[in-house]
Symmetry: C2
Subunit: 452 residues, 2 copies
């Protein structure tokens, strides 16, 4: 019994000591017998590259598959590409279909073909049927380990059938009732099976109303919403003809939810949600450089705007001192609106009927906060530079930029989404460009007009 | 049967049409009979305040509780505070203990007491036992609807007992085996109960090894990690003496995961993760103003730094044109590191043993990208202003600022966490302050030194 992981922490402490003293035999024992696969995977994910390689080599071959399925995509790919097709096939022999498919999707295509041919026929057919669906659809997420029953048999027969099987797939909360042609009819909850009269037929006990049935081509984010909204443990997946092709379980949906949420957070900093925390320096530098380069272009654009007003700045150097304030306040206000709208999109809160209300609300908020902070900044400026005109100018620029920030923060995610561009990724760059340009342009432009 | 929500979309369309034409009787019918509670809640969350009030008033009293539990905290509070204690108690009568507790936690304390006294004794005791734990702990998350069995009875007896009950609580995948003194001993999976010989005793079939047992004082984020890592549907909760006090189910854990992930995203923009997308303008303005004010302080700090170098800028106005580039590149690089480290903290990837490796890696990445982009920016500057010295100075400033960004992006979350400050909330403000100040200071400082 593992009390809230107390034992596990002790075992991990032993492991760390063993690693430091180089007692590899002991490390091997702890890795393969002392810890569960999920914990070994977590340990690998928390290790820098050298330690990670060392630990992986100490894991017994029969445990490799179990550990692999808990690793993130980046690290799976790193391990799998160093294996031969036969080794990969061996590792996958004990895994469930959906986990095998997840692993295969991280392999180069040629290797996938090799692995498939070295599998036994039944397994290969199962894997190929899941592989035929889009990776990000219900079909790509599903498992083929359904237990199906016909509507006309009695519960007694079902119970006897289950006893002969001796074990049920994980997360089996419902048996699935299908017709002779495999068309999905309804569900028979295990809990109902337990408490009902064994002489009743499946048809009498099964549930057909308000059962959530998932089409194989439904995007996985929609699947996650259905699971969250209806508190599901598993749900049947059907093809376009209503035939049962598999089922989706909550453990895989939790991964989708985690990835989706991570995606927004990481994308806004130009990072990939699968990013390995302990990737080597060179690989990390490369992936980050692209984002820095894109941001440099927008920074040069802002500089070009400032460059247009060099003459004015030379006359009144206070403008150079104050201009970052205008840009920064616009950027912060805009990112608040942007983040809220991106989250609302992810939760499915926004549609045609309420988008204009939201835009309107954001503009009012922009105006209120614009007036408030324009006043504060103008007063500070007045005391700092003893120049009423600059105070007035910066106040106006703040109001203009906060309105621009509200407008672009609210519109950008909707516009980008319509063009099929990920708002979480592109939104923050475009937004900063707008608030920088509008900020510098309004402040320096107004100053040039006033002082000419 | 609801095929991927096809019917639901049709019903929602009808609802929208009915709302527009003002056919309130029809809206009432759809709300109370056509849609599931979770969908009604989603509709309320996606509606601006006026429509939301209108819709809520059309929901029948007996459905209010069901709908309430699916709403986010902000909106629950808004609805509950407009009710009397007796109305609240009525609404809660049909809900499960954990949902009642969730609702109560959103009420003012005096109202909570009133509601408790108007409940029946058994319900009140259950609710009070859960309320006694911290809201963010396993105890606050758990439900008290456990089904317990003794180890010495046969499965036949268990099955007969369950049949008498006719229904099991939602998400019951295990019966919980306890001693005479309610101490937790092990689990009896429903699926094992189904496939095992009815004459065996519970003791023979139950599982005691590697069972995840959760202490009531474990923080809910740790509970979520255990559920994710071990693919749990439910887990028993015990008190400090090992006595069973309740169980936690995956549906509540999914909410924790969603909230936790939302928290990082929203906090980085100074927003609350419970923020109502359609809150009225005035309330929204107030909550955003605080964040803008904090950012204004840091912007003034950056301006003060620029102000120190007014003399130099007057001489060479190109500095004013170029200085935002130095600050912006530092801010972007820093936020990449910051986001990665905050995510890694949330995933439990970082501890003493690997923190220095990570800091080191980030510094190397900062150096590599610093050298790369310093060269690019220096070349562009040379062609733009035909001044080798400025090109050299901005190159050096970029390298300095990207190293400062790496250092602070990696250290800040760890330092803030040690002081009990939320890195997702405070991290980005402090980081921007550092990269702005270091950026302006190094660029303008070097320029002043070179040109003096």
């Amino acid at each position: 019994m593992a009390h809230s992981g107390d034992h596990k922490i002790k075992r991990l402490k032993h492991l760390n000591e063993a690693l430091e003293t180089g007692a590899l035999a002991q490390v091997r024992r702890i890795l393969n017998n002392g810890l569960q696969s999920a914990d070994v995977a977590h340990l690998l994910e928390s290790s820098p590259p050298k330690e990670r390689k060392l630990l992986w080599d100490l894991i017994d071959e029969e445990n490799e598959g179990e550990v692999l399925q808990y690793l993130s995509d980046d690290i799976q790919a790193w391990i799998l590409t160093s294996m031969s097709a036969q080794e990969v096939a061996n590792v996958m022999a004990d895994l469930e279909t959906d986990d095998v498919v997840d692993l295969l999707q991280n392999l180069p295509n040629t290797l996938t073909q090799e692995v498939l041919t070295s599998m036994d026929t039944q397994d290969r057919h199962r894997v190929e049927s899941v592989l035929s669906y889009d990776e990000d659809s219900a079909g790509g997420l599903m498992n083929t380990d359904t237990i199906t029953v016909r509507p006309d048999i009695t519960l007694e027969v079902v119970l006897r059938y289950l006893r002969r099987h001796r074990s049920l797939p994980d997360m089996t909360d419902n048996l699935l009732v299908v017709s002779r042609r495999d068309e999905f009819i309804g569900i028979l909850p295990i809990n109902k099976l337990l408490v009902s009269d064994p002489d009743s037929t499946v048809r009498e006990v099964m549930i057909t109303d308000d059962v959530i049935v998932i089409r194989a081509d439904l995007p996985e984010t929609e699947v996650a919403k259905l699971f969250e909204r209806h508190d599901l443990i598993s749900a049947p997946v059907v093809d376009a003809h209503g035939r049962l092709v598999g089922r989706i379980t909550i453990d895989d949906v939790v991964d989708v939810i985690r990835e989706e949420a991570d995606h927004s957070l990481m994308s806004m900093a130009g990072l990939d949600e699968d990013e390995d925390t302990f990737a080597p320096a060179l690989r990390t530098s490369k992936s980050r450089a692209v984002w820095l380069g894109i941001n440099l272009l927008t920074a040069f654009l802002a500089s070009a705007v400032i460059g247009m007003f060099q003459g004015t700045i030379e006359q009144i150097v206070a403008l150079a001192v104050l201009m970052p304030i205008v840009a920064s306040m616009g950027g912060v206000a805009g990112s608040q609106t942007l983040t809220l709208v991106i989250r609302a999109q992810a939760l499915g809160h926004i549609d045609k009927s309420n988008a204009s209300w939201l835009l309107n609300r954001e503009l009012i908020v922009g105006l209120i906060n614009g007036l408030l902070w324009a006043a504060v900044i103008a007063v500070v400026t007045l005391f700092w530079f003893h120049d009423g005109r600059i105070a007035l100018i910066i106040g106006c620029a703040i109001i203009i930029n906060l309105l621009a920030a509200a407008l672009s923060g609210a519109m950008l995610p909707m516009v980008l989404k319509r063009f099929g561009i990920d708002p979480a990724l592109a939104g923050s760059v475009v937004l900063t460009t707008i608030t920088d340009v509008v900020g510098f342009l309004s402040f320096l432009g107004l100053a040039t007009a006033f002082y000419r």
